[in-house]
Symmetry: C2
Subunit: 270 residues, 2 copies
């Protein structure tokens, strides 16, 4: 099983920021990345639909004999891990919410933590629950910042528009009060693309938690404890998508910070 | 058949701007609006996926014995009318591209016409073809303005962000040169929501064509010539969606400029 690939699942290309962190953390592993581009975005869809899509993805991924599956999509992590586990018995599944919540609890001094995400992630309150489970005294301010997704996909990640949108959402949240949040969780894989604009809007003092790196370290730990780390060889990535190889390659290259060619994207049906 | 409803199909809530124009033009008709909210947006998906989704929608709508179907979605109008016609034999189908192209050709003096739309609409080149069929001397500048969709859905339709995004896309397109376009087609049902910001970015002289009104008048003509106009009674609308009644009602109310209650949205499977 050491040679088996690690699966990375997302609704689209956003999870490539998590894949990037995984490749950095685990440079000798093989990865299979599946983006459900035919049905993205998950972030504005109902919990029931997202769970159905995630279950179908898990069934498709069962064919690839994974040694671990990373659910890089916050919306699916918030709602669909149990249903995915049912369909992949014996495969450890790591979502992005728990590692993100853990990092936020470690980062925050005051215990007041802000979480930004898609509508679905915020509505599902999974970050709140995961944070409160670790720190029952925590105060959480959650906000859906849906436009960040479109900005990241469109490549408008810095400059006056990105900054204006970041201020539009975050200035009220982060007004310097005595009891304002001291930590901000980027609860969507698209948001690290806008890190500079977000930083400019919230000021230098705010601790910003991006769950990609903490998720990668959770995956390393999971594989290590199971004795499944690959000890030699170089990394390889196989890209699967459910629609639009050209767009996946074009937008995905920016997210992964590495060129993806359209011919390297295999289309599959879920 | 006079009493039969008019179907209006869109990928989500954008087509409600077309429904609004239809209700104004045809205040005595009954409408069934179907938004494929489980799989929106169509604008960034491949032609094949959009055609498959549109065909499934046509099959579902066959049960409602429509006297006419309006395909309010530009992306589906651009790619999927033939496949929808196969599945609804005998039902006249009116898309938004042809009426929009007609209105643009009538509005433009210089023959240089700009078209903005989603990635899918622009890639499909349907407006170009429809305009050139009517005016072979026309010059067309087409541009995907994907962020407009997210702004409209998020309700950020005026103010500095909307204006900055409108300028970001349109200023280069509309630099006052001697041969710049004199007419701009809003080739996406979301864009009328941003009319003021778009107007501010392109200046007072540009003629702006919104295909909703011209589509509504094409539908009237189609029903009139078939003797199918309803002569008395008041209008009624039934809302069908494939996901997320709450979001459909919340965002859709803004697009329709009339309150839709979540309980008035029936969920169906395609």
């Amino acid at each position: 099983m050491t040679e088996a690939p690690i699966g990375v699942f997302d609704s689209g290309v956003g999870g490539l920021t998590v894949l990037r962190a995984l490749v950095t953390e685990l440079p000798q592993e093989r990865f299979i990345y599946l983006g459900d581009t035919a049905r993205l975005p998950y972030g504005t869809k109902s919990r029931e639909s997202v769970s159905r899509y995630a279950a179908q993805a898990a069934e498709a991924l069962a064919d690839y004999r994974l040694k671990c599956l990373v659910v890089a999509c916050n919306t699916a992590s918030a709602s669909s891990l149990p249903t995915m586990r049912e369909r992949l018995p014996g495969v450890p599944i790591v979502g992005v919410i728990e590692p993100g919540a853990q990092a936020a609890c470690e980062a925050s001094l005051s215990g007041h933590i802000a979480v930004i995400g898609t509508e679905g992630t915020v509505r599902g309150r999974a970050y709140e629950e995961a944070i409160l489970r670790r720190r029952s005294d925590a105060r959480i301010s959650a906000l859906a910042t849906q436009l960040f997704v479109a900005l990241a996909e469109e490549g408008v990640c810095s400059g006056p528009i990105a900054l204006a949108v970041a201020r539009h959402y975050l200035q009220a949240l982060c007004t310097p009060e005595r009891d304002g949040p001291d930590t901000l969780v980027l609860g969507c894989t698209h948001f690290p693309m806008l890190a500079k604009a977000i930083r400019a809007a919230v000021g230098e003092k705010m601790r910003i938690v991006d769950s990609a790196a903490t998720t990668a370290s959770a995956v390393r730990q999971c594989l290590h404890s199971a004795g499944l780390l690959r000890r030699c060889g170089s990394h390889a990535v196989r890209f699967l998508a459910t629609d639009g190889a050209e767009r996946f390659a074009r937008v995905g290259s920016r997210f992964l910070e590495r060129t993806i060619a359209p011919r390297d994207v295999e289309l599959i049906d879920l």
